[in-house]
C-alpha cells in the first residue's frame, strides 16, 4: 500500500477505474436502498422520529421468540454442516478418488432448494417413505414423529446447506500441501496426531468460512421452517413476510431488518477478527494477527495437540488389537471407515434429489407415498401451462440478464483488485462481497419499498438489476481466483513482441481467463435462476419467476405437478452442468499448465 500512496492522486484514480461500474451499481441498488430503508425504521407510524419501532420489536414476545428460533435453527444447521461436511471435503482434497465426488456433491447444490424441501415432506411424513419402509421391515410398529418438528427443519436445512459447506472447506483444504503431513510424520507424529496438530489447524479458516456462510444464509431461511416445522419453528423472516402482507408497516419491518443485520455483522466481525476474510474472498489481506486471534488459535492448538496425543494412544491400542485378531491395518489406517462415512453423507445429499422422480409419474392428485403409476399428465399440464411457461421463460431471461450485467461489471473489478495497485483493497473486497454475506431478506424488502415508489414493482428490469447485484460477489471471487493463478509473464511476453494493451487483452488474456468468466457467468445465472426471496418481494407477489411460481404452487396447490417441474429442472440443470464440466475439461488443459 505504501508504494501506491507515493504515486499521484490521479494515477491512483485511473488504476481504480475498472472498479467504478461495480461500485456504482452496488451503491445505487444495494447500499443506497438498504440504508434509506433502514433509516425508515426510526420513523414511527405517526411520522415522529424515535425508537418506537424498536420498543415494539423488543416489547413483543413474537419477535423475541422468533429471533431466538431463527438463531437456534441456524446454529444447529451450521454445526451439522461443518461436522458432516468436513470428512467429505477432507476425502475430496486428499485422495484422487475423492475428488471425483465433486459432481455428486454439486448436483443437489444446483437443484432448487424448494424442490428438496418437498422431497423431505414426503420422506419424513407420518405415512412417508421412511416410516412406511421401517414399518414394512418390522423395525417399528407405530410411525415415528419425523415431520413438523425441529428435527425435520434442521434435517432439510442441513441438506440444503451441506454442499456449500463442503465446497467452501474444500477450497481451503486444496491449498494445504501434502508436504506438511510428510514433515509432521518425519518429526514423529502419528496419523491422528499429525492430522490434529497440523492439518486441522491449517484447515480451520475454511471451516470457519463455511460456518460463517452457512449461518448467515440460514438466518434468512423461511421455506423449510414454514413447510416442515411446527409452530415452534416459526422464524423471524416468516413473521416479517406475514406482517408485510397484511399491513405495509415499513418502519417496523425496517427495525426487524436492522436487528437481522446487526446479528449478521456481529458474526462477520467476529469471524474477521479471528481469521480475516481470506478464506471467503481468497484474497490475502496482509493484516497482522490480532491478539484475540492469536490467543484463541494458541488455545485451540494446545487442545488439538492434547487430543492428538490421546487419540494416537487409542489408535495404537486399536491397531494392536486389530493386529491380534489378524487384521492388518493398511497404510492410512482410517481410510475404510472414512470412505463409508463419506458414502453415507453423499447418499444423504442425493436421495432427496432423485426421490421426486417417481412421484412425478403418480396418478393421484396429491403428492403421496407410494406413488401410483403411471401418467405423464403432470408433465403435460404443468410444462405446457401458460403460467409455467412464462415463469420459466422469465427466469431464463432474468438469469441471463443478471449474469450478463454481473459478469460485465464484475470482471473489470476483479482485474483491478488483483492486478492494479488500488489503495484499500481489503476494504473494497469486503464492500463488494456485502451482498453475499448479508441476508437476502434485507435487500428484498428495501428494494420492494424503493420499487413501489418508482413503479418498478413487477418489472423484469427491476428484478434483473437486483439479481445482478447479488451475483457481483460471485463473479469477482471466481474471476479473481483465476487471475491469481494466471502467469502475468504471458502478457509481458506479448507486449515485448509488440502487441498493444487492447490486443494483449483480446488475444492472450481473454482466452486464458475465459473459463473463469464462463464459470462466473454460469454461477450468476444459476444463483438468479434459483433465487426466491428477492423475487418474492420485488415482483410484489404479482409476476412470477420459476422459483416464485413453485413457491406459490407449493403453498397454494401442492400437487405432483411440482415433482414434475422439479424433475424437468433437475434434468435441465444436470445437462448444463455436464456441458460445463466437459467444456472446462477441454479448456482446463491450458489452465493446468499455467498453474505450474
Amino acid at each position: 500500500m505504501s508504494r501506491a500512496a507515493s504515486t499521484g492522486e490521479r494515477r491512483r484514480l485511473a488504476e481504480a477505474m475498472p472498479l467504478a461500474p461495480a461500485l456504482i451499481l452496488l451503491l445505487l441498488v444495494y447500499v443506497g436502498p438498504v440504508l434509506w430503508f433502514l433509516a425508515s425504521s426510526f420513523v414511527g407510524n405517526d411520522g415522529s422520529i424515535g425508537l418506537h419501532n424498536y420498543v415494539r420489536l423488543f416489547g413483543s414476545a413474537t419477535y423475541v421468540t422468533t429471533i431466538g428460533t431463527t438463531l437456534k435453527l441456524a446454529g444447529a444447521t451450521t454445526l451439522l454442516c461443518v461436522l458432516a461436511g468436513y470428512p467429505v471435503a477432507y476425502l475430496m482434497a486428499t485422495t484422487r478418488a475423492g475428488s471425483s465426488l465433486i459432481l455428486l456433491v454439486v448436483l443437489p447444490f444446483w437443484t432448487s432448494y424448494l424442490v428438496r424441501t418437498f422431497a423431505w415432506i414426503i420422506l419424513l411424513g407420518r405415512n412417508g417413505t421412511i416410516n412406511s419402509t421401517l414399518i414394512s421391515l418390522g423395525l417399528i410398529e407405530r410411525p415415528l414423529e419425523l415431520s413438523y418438528n425441529f428435527f425435520a427443519v434442521v434435517t432439510a436445512m442441513t441438506h440444503a446447506m451441506l454442499p456449500l459447506a463442503i465446497l467452501t472447506m474444500l477450497s481451503t483444504m486444496q491449498n494445504i500441501g501434502a508436504h506438511y503431513g510428510r514433515a509432521a510424520s518425519t518429526l514423529g507424529a502419528r496419523g491422528a496426531q499429525s492430522f490434529l496438530r497440523v492439518y486441522l489447524p491449517l484447515s480451520m479458516p475454511g471451516v470457519a468460512a463455511a460456518a460463517l456462510m452457512v449461518f448467515i444464509i440460514c438466518l434468512g431461511f423461511f421455506v423449510n421452517p414454514a413447510l416442515l416445522g411446527s409452530r415452534r419453528e416459526t422464524v423471524i423472516t416468516q413473521i416479517m413476510i406475514d406482517q408485510l402482507s397484511t399491513s405495509l408497516d415499513w418502519g417496523f419491518a425496517g427495525a426487524a431488518c436492522v436487528l437481522m443485520l446487526a446479528v449478521s455483522l456481529a458474526i462477520v466481525a467476529l469471524y474477521q477478527s479471528l481469521f480475516g476474510m481470506t478464506a471467503v474472498t481468497g484474497m490475502e489481506t496482509g493484516r497482522s494477527q490480532s491478539s484475540l486471534r492469536k490467543s484463541i488459535s494458541r488455545g485451540a492448538l494446545r487442545l488439538a495437540g492434547g487430543l492428538g496425543q490421546g487419540l494416537s494412544g487409542t489408535g495404537r491400542r486399536i491397531e494392536a488389537a486389530m493386529g491380534a485378531i489378524g487384521l492388518r491395518p493398511r497404510s492410512g489406517g482410517l481410510r475404510g471407515p472414512l470412505a463409508l462415512l463419506v458414502g453415507l453423507i453423499v447418499a444423504f445429499l442425493l436421495v432427496p434429489v432423485l426421490f421426486l422422480i417417481p412421484v412425478s409419474f403418480t396418478t393421484s392428485s396429491f403428492m403421496r407415498w407410494p406413488p401410483e403409476f403411471f401418467t405423464l399428465r403432470w408433465y403435460q399440464t404443468y410444462l405446457l401451462h401458460p403460467i409455467w411457461v412464462s415463469a420459466i421463460l422469465r427466469s431464463l431471461l432474468v438469469g441471463l440478464g443478471a449474469a450478463i450485467i454481473a459478469t460485465t461489471v464484475g470482471t473489470p473489478a476483479a482485474f483491478a483488485l488483483v492486478r492494479r495497485r488500488v489503495p484499500g483493497k481489503p476494504a473494497l473486497m469486503s464492500f463488494i462481497i456485502v451482498p453475499m454475506i448479508l441476508p437476502h431478506m434485507v435487500l428484498a424488502i428495501a428494494l420492494f419499498s424503493l420499487y413501489a415508489q418508482i413503479g418498478l414493482v413487477g418489472s423484469a428490469f427491476g428484478l434483473v438489476i437486483a439479481h445482478a447485484v447479488l451475483a457481483i460477489p460471485l463473479v469477482v471471487i471466481t474471476v479473481s481466483s483465476v487471475l491469481r493463478n494466471y502467469d502475468q509473464r504471458l502478457d509481458q511476453a506479448a507486449s515485448v513482441m509488440g502487441a498493444r494493451p487492447p490486443r494483449v487483452f483480446r488475444t492472450v488474456t481473454l482466452p486464458l481467463i475465459g473459463t473463469g468468466m464462463i464459470s462466473a457467468f454460469i454461477f450468476s445465472f444459476i444463483s438468479s435462476f434459483d433465487e426466491l426471496t428477492v423475487s418474492l418481494f420485488v415482483t410484489g407477489g404479482l409476476t412470477a419467476t420459476l422459483p416464485k411460481q413453485m413457491w406459490e404452487d407449493a403453498i397454494n396447490q401442492v400437487s405432483p405437478g411440482l415433482a414434475a417441474v422439479s424433475t424437468a429442472i433437475l434434468v435441465g440443470l444436470t445437462v448444463i452442468l455436464l456441458a460445463v464440466a466437459l467444456y472446462q475439461r477441454r479448456a482446463g488443459s491450458t489452465a493446468i499448465e499455467l498453474r505450474g
Binding site: S60, T62, T65, R126, N127, G128, E145, S147, Y148, A226, S230, R231, R232, T234, I239, D242, S245, T246, S247, L248, S364, S365, F366, M367, R368, W369, P386, I387, R394, L397, L400, G401, A403, I404, I405, Y451, A452, G455, G458, A460, F461, V464, G514, I518, G540, G541, L542, T543, A544, E552, D553, I555, N556, Q557, V558, V575, I576, A579, V580, L582
Partner: protein
C-alpha cells in the same frame, strides 16, 4: 438435451455474442407485457381447487364469449398489502382479485376498491348476507372439521368441544394458523353457542386454545396444505374449508366432514381502484354473478352459489356436499366480516404471539 449441449460447445465468442443480444430481451419485456395486456384480464385467486373451478366456470367461458383472455394468478390468502401496493403504485398487475368479505370491507372503506353496480342483472339477486358494495360474491364456503375414519371409525368427534379434547380423542390435528376461524372454533369449543360467538371473548378463546395446543402438529397457512395433510393422512383431525377436504376425500382419503358448528362465509371478486381496464373487469363481475356460471362453479368445487337462482341448475346429490344443504345453516355461524374488519390487526398480533410461544 442434445441441443443445449451443442450450444455450449459453440465456443466462447459465439456464446458471448449471443448473450449480448439476449440481454436486450429482458430489458424490453416490461413493454411487451404492457402491449399484450390490452386484451387480457388477470384474476388473483387462492389456487388449488378454487383455481380449477374458476377456470372451468368463469375464466374460459368469459374468454369464449368476449375474446378477452382471463388468466388466474395464485397468491397467498388475504393479500391486503398487494392490493394496496397495486393501487398506490398504479401498477395494475391484477385486474380482479378474489377477496373475503372482510377484506373487501377493509380495502373498500380505505378507498382501494371500485364500487359495484349492485342493481345490475345477476348481481341484484345475490343473497343479502353475501352482498358487498365492493365485490361480487361467487362462493359460500364453510370452515368445518373432518376426522379420519380409519382412526376413529364412525364415532369421531362431533363438535368443536370434541376436537379440542385431547383425552377423549387422542391423535394428530391440523388447525389454521390464523385468528379468523380458529378463534371462533375455540370459543364454541368452550361452550359458547353459535348465536353468541360475536363479539369474540378473546380471553376465553385463547385459554381454550392453550388446551389443544400440544395436540396440533400442523398449523397450516394455506388451504392446499390442509388438503395435502388429509390426502397423505398426515393428521387425524383437520379443520379447514369444506372444499379443501372434499378434494382429498374425492382422491380416496378416508375422512368424514362434520358440519355441526361450521363457520360459513362468502368470498367474491373485487376490482382494485383506478384500473384502466375497469370496464372489462366490471363486465367480468356481472358475468360471474349469472346463475348458470355460479352453478357451473359449484359443480367443480362444493361451495354454495350466493345467487339462489343457480340452484335450478344443480342436482340434489351435489347440493348435499355444500354448506347450505337443508338443515345445515341453522347449526352454523356466519363469519362476522364487520367484527374482523375492525379487529383483525390487533387480534392477529395477539394470535401470532400466542402461536409461537
Amino acid at each position: 438435451m442434445e441441443k443445449t449441449k451443442d450450444r455450449f460447445e459453440f465456443g466462447r465468442r459465439n456464446l458471448i455474442k449471443g448473450l449480448a443480444a439476449g440481454s436486450l430481451v429482458p430489458l424490453a419485456s416490461p413493454f411487451i407485457g404492457r402491449a399484450l395486456a390490452a386484451e387480457r384480464l388477470v384474476v388473483r385467486d387462492p389456487g388449488g381447487v378454487v383455481n380449477d373451478a374458476a377456470t372451468k366456470a368463469f375464466y374460459k367461458p368469459f374468454s369464449q364469449e368476449t375474446g378477452i383472455e382471463v388468466v388466474g394468478v395464485t397468491s397467498q390468502l388475504e393479500p391486503l398489502s398487494q392490493i394496496r401496493t397495486i393501487v398506490d403504485s398504479k401498477s395494475y398487475l391484477w385486474d380482479v382479485a378474489l377477496l373475503s368479505l372482510q377484506a373487501q370491507e377493509i380495502l373498500g372503506k380505505a378507498g382501494y376498491l371500485d364500487e359495484i353496480d349492485t342493481s345490475a342483472p345477476g348481481i341484484v339477486d345475490i343473497l343479502p348476507d353475501a352482498k358487498s358494495k365492493w365485490g361480487v360474491c361467487m362462493q359460500i364456503y364453510a370452515t368445518i372439521f373432518a376426522y379420519n375414519t380409519k382412526t376413529y371409525g364412525e364415532n369421531g368427534p362431533q363438535s368443536w368441544e370434541d376436537v379440542f379434547d385431547l383425552k377423549k380423542f387422542p391423535g394428530r390435528r391440523a388447525l389454521r394458523k390464523y385468528p379468523i376461524d380458529t378463534l371462533e372454533s375455540a370459543a364454541m369449543a368452550d361452550g359458547i353457542g353459535v348465536k353468541d360467538v360475536y363479539p369474540l371473548d378473546l380471553d376465553r378463546a385463547f385459554k381454550k386454545l392453550d388446551e389443544v395446543k400440544p395436540g396440533v402438529n400442523l398449523w397450516w397457512s394455506n388451504g392446499a396444505q390442509s388438503s395435502q395433510a388429509a390426502a397423505s393422512q398426515e393428521v387425524d383431525i383437520v379443520s379447514t374449508y369444506n372444499g379443501r377436504v372434499q378434494a382429498a376425500i374425492d382422491d380416496g382419503a378416508p375422512y368424514k366432514i362434520v358440519w355441526n358448528q361450521g363457520i360459513w362465509a362468502p368470498d367474491g371478486y373485487a376490482i382494485p381502484k383506478g384500473n384502466p381496464k375497469a370496464k372489462i373487469a366490471h363486465d367480468f363481475l356481472k358475468f360471474c354473478a349469472r346463475p348458470d356460471r355460479q352453478a357451473e362453479y359449484s359443480k367443480a368445487v362444493p361451495y354454495s352459489p350466493p345467487n339462489p337462482k343457480a340452484f335450478e341448475f344443480i342436482d340434489k346429490a351435489r347440493i348435499d356436499l355444500m354448506p347450505t344443504a337443508p338443515g345445515r345453516v341453522e347449526k352454523m355461524v356466519m363469519e362476522n366480516g364487520a367484527y374482523w374488519a375492525a379487529n383483525l390487526e390487533k387480534v392477529a398480533a395477539r394470535f401470532n404471539e400466542w402461536v409461537v410461544k
